[in-house]
Symmetry: C2
Subunit: 335 residues, 2 copies
DNA sequence: ATGAAAGCGCTAACAT
DNA sequence: ATGTTAGCGCTTTCAT
């Protein structure tokens, strides 16, 4: 069923049907109701591909994230989806599985699909990203990372200060040997700011970092467990506290420590970062750094909407703040 | 930059450019390389809208889920995405927020966008769903729910038996007063099978269900906490065990019990359902019913692919099995 | 206010 | 093997 059929059934021209659908105020009331009648009866659905080919607006936004199954990403996508849908946009979702090439491949698909804009959570920015940013002419927003070229606006997490703050908190509790469980292997950028925050806190308090207390891996619980094990079995005095770059790692670390007959927080304090919703529910409740990931998605979507409406306007990056949550998995070091 | 421009630059016709892109074997090697040269230099990206308008294939699959931020949904979407991307399809993602009307609205958008197929995790099937299934002519797959009309294939979770099995396990441990924390308020269908499984187990062992021990709510931790509280404060003897319809509810219930000075599992056993990945990591580790949600997404996507390739073939529903995981949050009832 | 016709960028049948 | 041409289903001038 196409527009021409509707036109014939209503005894009008294609153009009139199109007007009834898109700008009924331009058509006489009688014809409007006559056409609408037919529209109802037939259950006509306009072919948006055809419309979009003409109008050059697809109301489609391409979104790339490393994964979906991780709470923080899922929350963020939920925020993006909400705002975008609210504004009449649909989202084309893809996962890069931590591979920058995959991400670029999707950028290309998005471009061919004529998306109106792109939101991306990059793993690692390659030179080809820059080329794409410069050439595509598409409205873009980055999450969690800065565009070295300075043309694409970003939504950033204040990981450096969040981590520094938490580690200083541990230092204030009297801890000196503080382990760092990172995620650097897969996602360098996510790890970097946290690692630097950790080091900054130590240096500020005159504590020398020890390689054996620092690990890097991925987001998995298995890795968190093994990382804690590696640290725990390393030569030298045991750490009295652990900062994990994500809550999941922290949870896995606590599990390992518990199995070693070591209780948290009495023997070892453990702090995470993310504040996933169950962090306050489990026991011991997790001391962690809270970020509003849902909101970060909302901000990213709104930033993109802004960019699309006023392409030339210079936009500020948005920094997502943190809150330190002191809960049950940390306490003062034993004398 | 359009195809015509490429044609001009390469000194050939539009049709030849199209052939070089879509079926180079039909073009002489010299022209292929000449055109490809130009394609490279210009960084030409074909407008897929135009192609799709002609070929009537968008390689787009519409996916609707109630939410994204819940682990189980996110895992499932990850499975869908993986298979679909692997097969050259992209996914158009929407969330219904537990509203059947929203879901139908997206079905309509999908249809207009000319998607090649739809995967939906319905909250509640209305009559209009049936109408859509019958009229749209689109390849469809349902998750977690049966099509009453019997035309749309489904991927189902064996919630009835999973729950029954787990509750029988609790009964075998000697528990008789077993609470049920349900999710029925928002998603009737998800709750129904679990509730029936619970009742079936009780009835099989001659235990009369008690209204005061059964609640219904949503997926949130807050609700799980309040539900446990309601049950705990109800008139009558305290339950010795709790079956929660999801792990999240179980975790929240454990938190409430702990705050009441009640230890799990010594005083009260608690079992969940889902086996979210941290279920084995937290303490006490959670006795639960395991489902492979990622795989359910894979199955749904493959079922849809099958349906799209052979539209008339009658397809069997797929049942996702369960595994009972006996862990630390349950034990035999105290004598 | 309405209709006729051109055109969006591509594919595919047909002709050469 | 290559080019010409007619659509795909819509929107949007431009006439009337």
């Amino acid at each position: 069923m196409k527009m021409e059929d509707i036109a014939r059934l209503a005894g009008v021209s294609k153009a009139t049907v199109s007007r009834v659908i898109n700008s009924p105020e331009q058509v006489s009331p009688q014809l409007v109701s006559r056409v609408e009648q037919v529209l109802k009866e037939t259950g006509y659905a306009p072919n948006l591909l055809a419309r979009e080919l003409v109008t050059k607006q697809t109301h489609l936004i391409g979104v790339v994230v490393p994964q979906i199954g991780i709470d923080t990403f899922a929350e963020m996508i939920e925020g993006i989806t909400h705002v975008l849908n609210q504004n009449g946009y649909n989202l084309l979702l893809a996962t890069s599985r931590d591979q920058p090439e995959e991400e670029l491949r999707y950028f290309d698909v998005f471009r061919k699909k004529q998306v109106d804009g792109i939101i991306s959570f990059p793993t690692l920015l390659l030179e080809r990203h820059q080329t794409f940013f410069a050439r595509s002419g598409l409205p873009l927003v980055l999450v969690s990372q800065l565009d070295p070229g300075g043309t694409v606006p970003s939504v950033l997490y204040d990981d450096f200060n969040g981590t520094r703050d938490m580690v200083e908190y541990l230092l204030a509790l009297g801890h000196r040997r503080i382990a760092y469980l990172g995620v650097g292997q897969h996602n360098k950028v996510i790890d970097q700011a946290r690692r630097e925050g950790y080091l900054a806190a130590l240096s500020r308090h005159g504590v020398a970092p020890e390689e054996r207390l620092m690990t890097q891996g991925d987001f998995s619980l298995q890795y968190g467990y093994r990382a804690m094990q590696t640290v725990w079995q390393s030569e030298g005095e045991k750490p009295t506290a652990v900062f994990a770059a994500t809550d999941r790692l922290a949870l896995a670390a606590i599990q390992y420590l518990r199995e070693q007959g070591c209780s948290v927080p009495e023997d070892v304090s453990v702090a995470g970062l993310d504040d996933m919703d169950i962090a306050a529910t489990v026991h011991p409740s997790l001391t962690t750094v809270h970020y509003d990931y849902y909101n970060s998605g909302v901000q990213a979507a709104e930033l993109l909407l802004l960019r699309m409406r006023r392409p030339q306007e210079r936009l500020e990056n948005i920094m997502i703040g943190y809150q330190r949550k002191e809960r049950g998995s940390t306490c003062a070091v034993k004398k």
